[in-house]
Symmetry: C2
Subunit: 220 residues, 2 copies
């Protein structure tokens, strides 16, 4: 039995939802509301599962897993079809590097806890926070665009013609970037690949707006 | 031929140096000075290898690899002995999660480009930057401590009794934390494991102070 502690808008949970749906795996989605009541991720019960208080957490029977990229590789190792990682070591390194460029270089700077710190501790106003957000997303995704555009291994998706771990990371990051009006106009390869992802049912089913915990009114 | 573009004080390069030495692999270290001349990582020549302008970059003959964790898994796949990843899928997920807690949740908030942005764009003074640094390191490492302390798979090292990818990440993060006077007093498991790492020649050879590009005067 797979259970995913998730928040509809969490980029990291979004990645794992994509992987679960690409694998065709049934899972129970347990919402963790990051804003309600000071953040449900901070409750002792949740922290016992995930000491960092981050979302998502994946439960596979008796096992508890943290970190979205580790979860996706675990799902790929335990449910190999369809593969989300290439077979060759150099190709695997490329897919991991694309995923980590998003998961290590871009996303950590823009998640809720960091934006909250900028606001509450450093007193950064909305404009300063938006500028911060766009700076890291636009610079980081420009790097991803370059890695994709200058490598013959890029196909319909980030690596070849089927989705991999890299695509599980790319769509959520671009979804967030668009929501915050980042300028992605000079990133045609990213736009093309994201369009490809958006046409796949597994990606569609993982989108924030269709999750059980998504608000009925998208403006809330 | 392995070539590592490295900076002595880069935490991510430090991780890869540890892995290379644990594997007993010869490599050429090519220093990239992150501070000199506006940052050698921003030159067109370096950006052609690594579009993000991050350190390290690993060259293996004709192949160019970015992202330290991807590099270490690549080295482990192409040079399996001694293994830096466990054989079991759940154990692999645990080691990756420990590594990613450091590489995704802690380190990205504290590297040079972020501290420079806080200073140059947001006008944060030294005290505000130090408080920021310690906040993410102390909270993040407290989570790592909890993951280590509450799991019977923790051994002499983060996972079992031999170094893994997780230890390649832990020592550099703790090294930086100590340099910035973070309070790690409530983290006895981390202290014990780091002590274990520091007694191993491969970790010693990877330390910032003994790199070719380390200044003779450690205060500089």
């Amino acid at each position: 039995m797979l259970r995913l502690h998730t928040y509809f808008r969490s980029s990291a949970a979004f990645r794992v939802r994509i992987a679960l749906h690409l694998k065709g795996l049934e899972f129970e989605a347990v919402p963790v509301h990051l804003l309600r009541g000071g953040g449900e991720q901070h409750t002792p019960d949740y922290r016992a599962k995930n000491p960092l208080g981050t979302v998502p957490t994946l439960i596979d029977n008796a096992a508890t897993l943290t970190q979205s990229l580790a979860m996706i590789e675990y799902l790929d190792e335990t449910h190999p079809q369809p593969p989300l990682m290439p077979a060759d070591a150099l190709d695997r390194a490329r897919v991991r590097a694309l995923a980590q460029t998003i998961a290590c270089d871009i996303h950590p700077l823009n998640n809720l806890r960091v934006l909250n710190y900028l606001k509450d501790v450093m007193g950064a106003d909305q404009t300063a926070r938006d500028t911060w957000y766009r700076h890291w997303v636009e610079n980081g995704l420009a790097g991803v665009e370059s890695l994709l555009a200058n490598d013959a291994r890029t196909g319909l998706f980030c690596h070849g013609d089927a989705p991999t771990l890299a695509d599980c990371c790319l769509l959520p990051q671009v979804f967030n970037a668009r929501r915050l009006n980042c300028d992605l106009s000079a990133m045609p390869v990213i736009a093309r690949i994201v369009g490809q992802c958006e046409a796949v049912a597994a990606f569609q089913r993982a989108m924030p707006g269709v999750q059980v915990d998504a608000p009925l009114d998208p403006a809330t």
